[in-house]
C-alpha cells in the first residue's frame, strides 16, 4: 500500500501519540493492580501491547465518527476521548462512570465522543457498525463508522454477514481487525485455515490494507487512507493491524497455552511504546516527565473513582426501557 506523503506526522503529533499510548499502558497496569488488590470486580481484559492500534486509528477520526469496541476496550475508549476518570469510575461501578455503573469493563459507552460501546459478545459490534454507517449514508452525513474486533471475531457469522452487507451497500465503514494472533488460548493457526486474513475481505470484494500494528505512525497513515476511502463514499475498508497481546487474555490468566518465553520475547521485541520513544529520541528527562504526568492522571482516576458515588441497589430497576 503506497501511503501519501501528506500523512507523515510532525514530531509534536507523534509525541502526543506517545503520551496517549503511555497513558493507556499505565492505566491498564493500574487496572491489573487494582483487580489483584480486590478493588475491582467482574471480568477484565486489558490491551497491553495494542495501544498503537487504538491511538493510530482513533486519531484519524472526528469526534462524531463512531466506533464499536470489544471486550478488550479500555484502549479504544481512552483513544476515542473518554477520560481516565470516567473509565476508572465505571470499573469501580460508580455513578460517575461512563455507563453509570450499569456496564462495567465490557460495556463502556461514551456517546458524546462517538463511542457506541464496548461489547462482550465477540463479533457483536460489527452489524451495528454497518447500520450506523448506513444511517450516515442515508442522511448524507460525512461520517464514518469503525468496528474494532480481534482475529477470533473473524470466525463469527456476524463478521461475514457484516462485511458482505457493508460492501454490498457501500456504507462508510472501516473494519479494524486487531490481529493479536490469539483468541483466548487458541492461536490463530488453530482457529482459521488461512494465514492471510485479508482474503476474508477479498471474498466480499472489499478493499484491505495491512499494517504493522506496533508502529503507530504506520497505523495512523493506513487508517487515514481507509477512513478517507470510506468517507468519500467508496465503500468500506478492511484494515488489518498485526499486533500482540503482551499479557494474558484476561487479568489473572495463567496462560498455560503460551509457549515458554513467548511473552517475554514479545515484550522485548514488539512493544510499540519503546519503539516510538526510540524513533522520537526521547531522552531520560523528557521520558520521566512524561511518566510523571501520565502517572498523575492514572492516580487521579483511581482517587476519583474511589470517591465516586455508589449506586443504590434499587437503581437496578431504572433504564430497562426508554
Amino acid at each position: 500500500m503506497k501511503l501519501e506523503e501528506a500523512t507523515r506526522l510532525s514530531g509534536e503529533t507523534l509525541l502526543s501519540f506517545l503520551e496517549e499510548m503511555l497513558l493507556i499502558r499505565r492505566f491498564e497496569e493500574k487496572v491489573e493492580e487494582r483487580f489483584r488488590a480486590g478493588d475491582l470486580s467482574g471480568f477484565l481484559h486489558v490491551a497491553l501491547g495494542q495501544e498503537a492500534v487504538a491511538v493510530g486509528v482513533c486519531r484519524t477520526l472526528e469526534t462524531d465518527d463512531v466506533i464499536a469496541s470489544t471486550h478488550r476496550a479500555h484502549h479504544h475508549c481512552l483513544a476515542k476521548g473518554m477520560t481516565a476518570n470516567a473509565l476508572m469510575a465505571e470499573l469501580y461501578g460508580k455513578v460517575e462512570g461512563c455507563s453509570g455503573g450499569y456496564g462495567g469493563s465490557m460495556h463502556l459507552y461514551d456517546l458524546a465522543n462517538g463511542n457506541l460501546g464496548a461489547n462482550a459478545v465477540v463479533g457483536g459490534g460489527l452489524p451495528g457498525i454497518v447500520g450506523a454507517a448506513l444511517a450516515f449514508k442515508m442522511r448524507r452525513q460525512p461520517r464514518v463508522a469503525v468496528a474494532f474486533f480481534g482475529d477470533g471475531a473473524t470466525n463469527t457469522g456476524s463478521f461475514h454477514e457484516s462485511l458482505n452487507l457493508g460492501q454490498l451497500w457501500t456504507v462508510p465503514a472501516v473494519f479494524v481487525c486487531e490481529n493479536n494472533h490469539y483468541a483466548e488460548s487458541t492461536p490463530s493457526r488453530d482457529h482459521m485455515p488461512i494465514a492471510d486474513l485479508t482474503r476474508r475481505a477479498e471474498a466480499f470484494g472489499m478493499r484491505s490494507i495491512v499494517v504493522d500494528g506496533q508502529d503507530v505512525e504506520a497505523v495512523h497513515a493506513a487508517a487515514t487512507e481507509a477512513v478517507a476511502h470510506a468517507r468519500a463514499g467508496n465503500g468500506p475498508v478492511f484494515l488489518l493491524a498485526n499486533t500482540y497481546r503482551l499479557t494474558g487474555h484476561y487479568v489473572g490468566d495463567p496462560q498455560v497455552y503460551r509457549p515458554k518465553g513467548e511473552q517475554r520475547d514479545l515484550r522485548a521485541t514488539q512493544d510499540p511504546i519503546p519503539r516510538l520513544r526510540e524513533l522520537l529520541g526521547v531522552d531520560e528527562d523528557s521520558w520521566s516527565a512524561l511518566e510523571t504526568k501520565v502517572a498523575a492522571t492514572v492516580e487521579a482516576s483511581v482517587e476519583f473513582a474511589k470517591n465516586g458515588t455508589d449506586r443504590l441497589p434499587e437503581d437496578a430497576l431504572l433504564n430497562v426501557y426508554a
Binding site: 461501578g93 462495567g104 449506586r311
Partner: protein, 326 residues
C-alpha cells in the same frame, strides 16, 4: 464414597464416556489446553487427544450445528457453549434444527447431541455474561433440558444426556463448580424426569433448581430454627419434568414456593405454579410464591447485581409469607 467437586463430576463423566465409547467427542472454544473457560475439560486433551477434544473457532452456530450433523450420523457429540448467553447465537441450530429433525422427518432421525453450557450471576461480569436462559429452551418441544445442582446429579445426568437419543441442553451454574460432595463409587446414570427430594418437611415445599437449591437448603435450616418445616424438591431435569414428585409434595405440605435465578417473569417457576394449581388446587393453603431475579438485565455494579438476583433473605421472606397464610 469419594468426595468430588461439581466441576470434577462433569469432567469424570466426560472422561468415562470417552474412554468407553469412540463415538463420544467434545467440541468447544478453548476446551483443549486451557480446559475451557471454567476448567471443566482440563486434562482431557492429554488423555484423548485433539481429535476428540476439539478446540473450535468462535462460531457458536457452527459448533451447535456441527454437533447436530455428527449426532445425526450416530456419533454422540458433547459441545460446549462457553457462556449460556452465547447460546443465543446457537439458537437456530438448537431450536430449528436439533429440536425438529426427528419430528419433521416423521420419526426417522435421531439427534443424540448434548449441549453443555454454564452461566449465572454473582460475580459482576455485566449484562452479557450472567443470564440464566434455561426457560427459553424449556419452551421448545423436541428438546430436553437438565440443570443439576450437585456433583452426583451432574455426573449421572450428564451420562444420561450423552446416551439420550434426543438433544439435551445441559445447564451448569458457574458458582457451583467448586462445591464438593460425596458421590457413589461408580458412575450411576440418573434417569431423566425424576426429581430429587433434598430434604423432607411438612409445612412448605420449595421447588428449586441450580444454585437456588443450595440457597434453599440454607433457608430450610434457618426456617427449622423458627419451627417451619421445609421440603425441598429439585426437579433436576426441567424437560421432562417430574410433575408427580412436585405435586405430591405440595399435597403434603399445602404450600409451595418456586425459586430459580432466572427472571421470574415467564420463567420456569411460572410453569411449576401452573401445574401445581392445576393438580393440587384444593390442597393449597396459600398462593404459590415465585422467587427469582427481578425483570432487568444483570447490572454490573455489585450492589445492583446483588439486588437483582435472589438470595436467602428473599426466599426466607417468601417462605414466611406463605406459612403466615395459615
Amino acid at each position: 464414597m469419594p468426595e468430588i467437586t461439581y466441576r470434577e463430576a462433569v469432567r469424570d463423566c466426560l472422561a468415562e464416556a470417552m474412554r468407553s465409547d469412540p463415538d463420544v467427542f467434545l467440541m468447544g472454544e478453548d476446551i483443549a489446553e486451557m480446559g475451557g473457560s471454567m476448567g471443566v475439560t482440563h486434562g482431557l486433551v492429554d488423555e484423548f487427544g485433539k481429535e476428540r477434544v476439539r478446540n473450535t473457532p468462535i462460531s457458536e452456530a457452527a459448533i451447535a450445528g456441527a454437533g447436530v450433523g455428527a449426532a445425526i450420523q450416530g456419533m454422540r457429540p458433547v459441545v460446549e457453549i462457553m457462556y449460556q448467553d452465547f447460546i443465543t447465537l446457537s439458537m437456530e441450530q438448537i431450536v430449528l434444527q436439533a429440536a425438529k429433525h426427528r419430528y419433521m422427518s416423521g420419526g426417522q432421525i435421531k439427534v443424540p447431541l448434548t449441549v453443555r453450557t454454564q452461566g449465572g450471576a454473582g460475580w459482576s461480569p455485566g449484562a452479557q455474561h450472567a443470564e440464566q436462559l434455561e426457560g427459553w429452551l424449556c419452551h421448545v418441544p423436541g428438546l430436553k433440558v437438565a440443570f443439576p445442582s450437585t456433583p452426583e446429579d451432574a455426573r449421572g445426568l450428564l451420562w444420561s444426556s450423552i446416551y439420550d437419543d434426543n438433544t439435551v441442553v445441559f445447564f451448569e451454574h458457574r458458582t457451583l463448580y467448586p462445591i464438593k460432595a460425596e458421590v457413589s463409587d461408580t458412575l450411576e446414570p440418573i434417569e431423566f424426569g425424576k426429581a430429587r427430594v433434598h430434604r423432607e418437611g411438612s409445612d412448605v415445599t420449595i421447588v428449586a433448581i441450580g444454585r437456588l437449591v443450595h440457597v434453599a437448603l440454607r433457608v430450610a435450616e434457618q426456617a427449622a430454627e423458627e419451627g417451619i418445616s421445609v421440603e425441598i424438591v429439585d426437579p433436576r431435569t426441567l424437560l421432562p419434568l417430574d410433575e408427580d414428585s412436585i405435586v405430591n409434595s405440595v399435597m403434603k405440605t399445602n404450600r409451595c414456593v418456586v425459586t430459580h435465578e432466572a427472571v421470574t417473569r415467564m420463567g420456569f417457576g411460572a410453569e411449576i405454579a401452573a401445574i401445581v394449581q392445576e393438580k393440587a388446587f384444593d390442597y393449597l393453603d396459600a398462593p404459590i410464591e415465585r422467587v427469582g431475579s427481578r425483570f432487568t438485565p444483570i447490572p454490573f455494579a455489585p450492589v445492583m447485581e446483588e439486588y437483582v438476583i435472589p438470595h436467602e433473605e428473599d426466599l426466607m421472606a417468601a417462605v414466611k409469607r406463605t406459612v403466615a397464610r395459615g
